[in-house]
Symmetry: C2
Subunit: 518 residues, 2 copies
């Protein structure tokens, strides 16, 4: 929590539904503004990381067939999780239930991750963002990854995926889940591959299934499953500029080709559904054949796989399992809308979850920006969650600073999407900040910023003195030249009628432009 | 010029038409790739800043009425400037002439700025970007501004506006123009205001006209003129969240109200056209009533002014004067397209030149990103030039680093727009980079990047050793896990037929995943 903000809780119909918000005090006579807060209780030094959902989960008991939010939603039950989300998003609980029941939204909430604060992914809710973290063979500190998790949620990550691939995968994940106030996703195939010494050909359904159960027991909330990479689609990617760029996709393609058999993820998919239903793990149906370059966008391989993901979505729903569908990748702007439209049609409005997309390939080291452009657009068009891309994409693993840059770029994209979708809560934030800006309430402007610390730091770089924080100008124009200042005079002037005020304005003229400092 | 690139020249129909390109050598057996180059001869330590256009200007002589590129274009003359541009953009010179003749594109080229390398602004050409620099009352080093100019063009600024407002405005501008290989724009009102001690009410047409002539003589290529802020429009802005945020707009509004008279920029507009025609200064018709917040986007005040800018465009054309039209500002995504469509209709396809737009107000310190989203989209929709926004927007004046961040974010936006518009030259750059990436040609990938230095630096942060530059993996996945690597095997495999290669692939399996280093 930023020091300029205060965590407040809104209580629901029962005492243990306490929904956190980040409250910003304002000095312009307005009510404080409450912002959606992902930082979790862990960032409050007073509290630990309590098992917020323990009672709710225990009260429901465990059904032998399905313990999922969609299961309850379809039975007409509004769970405490749904009420929590309704308060969080400023909507009716019944609306939340209906969206989940109809598969248009998911609540990733493994029964073994009671620490998580309920959140929802669906196009009729605030656009969410996901941050990827995780160790690799060349960088494997568990402490670093837990720190990145806390850091990512501080800046606004709604979900975090642990993509660890090095040693200590199990232990790293345990630390991450127990410390995470947001749902945690994984790609179980990575750990399964470690178990067969990195040789995809040695993978089997049994090894994969055991890995799923291991992770399910730990509390993983959603899992990427590349079950749409079918044997017959693999040759479609052969003549691409960048082939198969999804790790999961390339592993499964290698397996299919070597065995000349259909993917075990596809042939055992119903067994997966049964497991997912018991723990309430949500599917994130992986797009193993997503394009890795502008040249490969929206091609035959990509859309063939998407059709299979549509089939798999409907099968998951048969088992009362929640499901979202992953999307690209690298897509030029004019081809973005087709991705959402097609996914929404084929997958009957199951939530879409895209990686960017990057709108050009030419800017490695700035792919948080190339992809924020695509992410904002695809969010507007109906994508429910945006997977962030950091400045290190294509070049290396993100460090702490990169995680922040990625999260902030994606909070911008998600909020821009919410504004464009006309989400009822979105614009009040912009209006509060712009009003503070117009009224030269610098402290309010900083405190309302997505990154209060950096906004203040940048301001202070050229006008560090404390009086500058109340000055009616900034270093961009200096005291004599401020358009906002002139504009204030005009506003007063117009309010009092034009002609009769002309003389007064003329007289005030020189006073208006007197320097305030310096 | 980046050390990894070589400046090469393509000669036109006469020896003194020598068009620069930045050539990138490639190691994959391809031809070198030639990129559009804005860095100018000044960045080549061997050369000075020669008067490239001196002979062309002298040969044409000086006409008492009009010396503009549109004047020649309408007479059917292909000027050396037009041929230079045709080579630069990979198009026919006759096409360039026609676009200029019909007002759909402009070539900012004051006869007193012979050092500039001809460039064109129009929707049927590569999308251009503008970088703003300039001193202010609180920051006024001339050397710093000249350094920012060189720095901005190194990273790809197509145009630079000198928005100086402090002391030494004349001298600063002189240094900037004499050192600039790109067209220079100004807002003459700022200097005129300095001449009346910062009191807008004391402004007169005569003082403004003399300022215009002073700047015209120095060689300013385009000037922002806020002639569309009419007396009757001012009250329309009174109830906005952020009033009038354009400095020029607020100055003229203050003048109109205080005198209760129509703006002298509007009443003397035809005299301005006569002056502009002589020097070949292009109008940049300022949007003094642009929205400064999401709440104020696309409102009555903004579009009323736009209609007047449409009238003024047609008057400029009567005088054979080139003209572009400025646009906003702060606009949520769903209201962006209307801005271009309306401007193109009202101004009969005169080039649109927008500031961003920012797609949300909540991220001060990241407005290069909030606005790159809007800029990419508006570029795709037909905006010809994008005025950059730096991370310091709303907070302070940009330093050297901020200028670079702003330029790079806008090169991304402009190139993404060119891809989406289907510009014939755009995608070859992406394809070359993606091919290099897929083939693990790291050096080629760095050299093809928008920012080769940072791409290399980020890569080296986690895998600094020299062998890593030729390694067939990167630190993101490590050696055992690279999807690109697996994908290569698949490509080979698919090329040779699937079934018969199954065994061989299986045998190769273990070898494929052997670590290359570490």
């Amino acid at each position: 929590m930023h020091p300029s903000r205060k965590k407040v809780y809104v209580t629901g119909s029962r005492d243990d539904i306490r929904v956190p918000f980040a409250e910003v005090e304002l000095s312009g006579g307005e009510e404080p503004l409450r912002l959606y807060d992902t930082s979790g209780p862990g960032s409050d030094p007073e509290a630990g990381l309590p098992e917020l959902r323990r009672r709710w989960i225990d009260e429901r008991g465990r059904d032998s067939r399905s313990n999922t939010q969609i299961h309850y939603a379809r039975k007409g039950v509004v769970t405490p999780e749904m009420e929590f989300i309704a308060i969080r998003e400023g909507l009716e609980a019944e609306f939340v239930r209906k969206e989940v029941a109809e598969g248009r939204a998911i609540i990733p909430a493994n029964v073994n991750h009671p620490e998580s604060e309920p959140m929802i992914i669906g196009k009729n809710f605030l656009t969410k963002i996901n941050a990827n973290i995780g160790t690799s063979a060349v960088s494997d500190s568990i402490a670093d990854e837990v720190e990145k998790l806390t850091w990512a949620t501080k800046w606004g990550a709604d979900n975090v995926m642990d993509l660890s691939t090095g040693k200590h995968i199990h232990e790293t994940r345990e630390h991450i889940i127990r410390n995470s106030p947001v749902p945690i996703g994984t790609v179980p195939l990575y750990q399964a591959l470690e178990k067969v010494d990195g040789d995809p050909i040695k993978l089997t359904w049994e090894i994969y299934r055991d890995t799923i159960i291991e992770q399910a027991e730990q509390g993983v909330d959603y899992m990427t499953v590349h079950a749409g990479v079918l044997l017959r689609y693999v040759p479609m990617a052969a003549n691409r500029v960048t082939g198969i760029v999804s790790r999961g996709g390339s592993i499964m393609a290698a397996w299919c080709l070597a065995h000349h058999e259909e993917s075990f993820l596809y042939t055992h998919y119903r067994e997966l559904c049964e497991i997912f239903a018991k723990y309430d793990i949500s599917f994130s149906l992986g797009d193993g054949l997503r394009p890795g370059s502008i040249a490969d966008a929206n091609d035959e391989a990509q859309f063939a796989e998407l059709r299979t993901l549509g089939e798999l979505t409907k099968i998951a729903w048969e088992y009362d399992v929640q499901v979202m569908v992953e999307g690209p990748g690298h897509v030029p702007m004019h081809k973005i809308k087709e991705n959402v439209d097609l996914q929404q049609e084929i997958c009957e409005e199951a939530p879409f979850y895209t990686l960017g997309p990057l709108t050009t390939d030419v800017a490695p080291a700035y792919d948080h920006i190339t992809s924020a452009i695509g992410a904002a657009m695809i969010g507007w068009f109906g994508t429910a969650m945006l997977c962030y891309v950091t400045p290190k994409e294509h070049l290396g693993l993100p460090n702490r600073d990169d995680v922040k840059e990625g999260v902030i770029a994606y909070k911008i994209a998600a909020h821009a999407a919410d504004l464009a979708k006309g989400h009822p809560q979105a614009q009040q934030w912009d209006d509060a900040l712009s009003k503070a800006r117009f009224e030269f309430r610098w402290e309010d402007q900083f405190n309302l910023s997505l990154d209060p610390e950096r906004a203040r730091e940048y301001h202070d770089e050229t006008l560090p003195a404390e009086p500058a924080k109340t000055a009616h100008f900034c270093s961009m124009c200096g005291p004599k030249f401020c358009s906002m200042k002139i504009s204030h005079e005009l506003k007063e002037y117009a309010a009092q009628g034009m002609a009769e005020k002309s003389e007064e304005f003329k007289e005030k003229g020189n006073k208006v432009y007197l320097p305030v400092i310096g």
